[in-house]
């Protein structure tokens, strides 16, 4: 695994026991700081919430993609959280959110290489096959594998 990879096995979190959007974003921010992706929990949460306040990033079938470009983020990264129970998080179809893809990008990026990886993943998110594997799998290695593949598609 490359050192500067946007996605790593330890960025996958399953069975996360959070019940609200705020709790979930706080969990992600805490892990992001621990993993060296961001320098500030609060800054990361505020970054996510700024985007959420423009319009919820929840979409169909239990998926949400909170994202931020903020100065506290130091490494472009994708984190994946599967919640233990669905979260009440405004979505396009009103369903609770189960799978959360968090996209963290620094305010200033030197190259678009990482952004291109993230855009490949975003494209994959609308695929029914990809969605059902993500929803049905409880195997972290499988989830890591399909997300890794989607990023490098």
């Amino acid at each position: 695994m490359q050192k500067d990879s946007v996605f790593k096995r330890e960025y996958v979190f399953l069975d996360v026991d959070v019940s609200t959007k705020e709790e979930c974003l706080a969990f992600i921010a805490k892990k992001a700081v621990k993993l060296g992706i961001s320098t500030s929990e609060k800054g990361t949460i505020d970054g996510f919430m700024e985007r959420e306040n423009e319009g919820s990033t929840g979409f169909d079938d239990g998926f949400a993609i909170p994202h931020t470009r903020c100065e506290d983020v130091i490494r472009p990264s994708v984190m994946v959280v599967k919640t233990k129970n669905g979260i009440d998080w405004p979505s396009m179809d009103g369903k609770p959110i189960v799978v959360v893809f968090a996209l963290l990008v620094p305010k200033e990026v030197e190259s678009t290489v990482h952004l291109k990886l993230i855009s490949s993943l975003a494209r994959k998110l609308v695929s029914a096959d990809f969605q059902s594997t993500m929803l049905n799998s409880s195997d972290p290695d499988e989830i890591f594998g399909i997300v890794e593949k989607a990023l490098n598609n």
Binding site: D60, H67, M92, L125
Partner: protein
């Protein structure tokens, strides 16, 4: 042999990380399924990709914008009928939205 219909679209969301590309992918798949040649420009955090040329616009039977911001080089579209749809419709109901546009065009003829 009849020439394939062509659909072109431009997608751009506020941050250019996620919805731009989800909308582009959904529109591309739906348009292909409905038998179109398709080209989708994205204006995202990685800049302008797959840029629509004057020729693309001239050849297009349907021109769509799914944008939450005013796109770059928007004057390209000045002399064309552009169907503006929400990013949400593009992501969630691309096929239905294209069909609605087809009906609108048919009823204008």
């Amino acid at each position: 042999m009849t020439k394939k219909k062509k659909l072109v679209a431009l997608c751009a969301c506020t941050m250019g990380l996620a919805h731009t590309f989800m909308a582009a992918q959904s529109l591309e798949e739906a348009a292909k399924e409905l038998g179109y040649d398709v080209k989708i420009e994205t204006q995202g955090a990685d800049g302008i990709q797959n840029e629509l040329t004057p020729q693309d616009l001239a050849e297009a039977d349907i021109i769509i914008q799914a944008v939450a911001i005013t796109p770059e080089n928007n004057e390209r579209f000045d002399n064309y009928d552009v169907y503006e749809i929400s990013l949400q419709d593009a992501i969630k109901n691309a096929k239905g939205t294209i069909k609605e546009i087809e009906e609108m065009i048919a009823s204008e003829k």
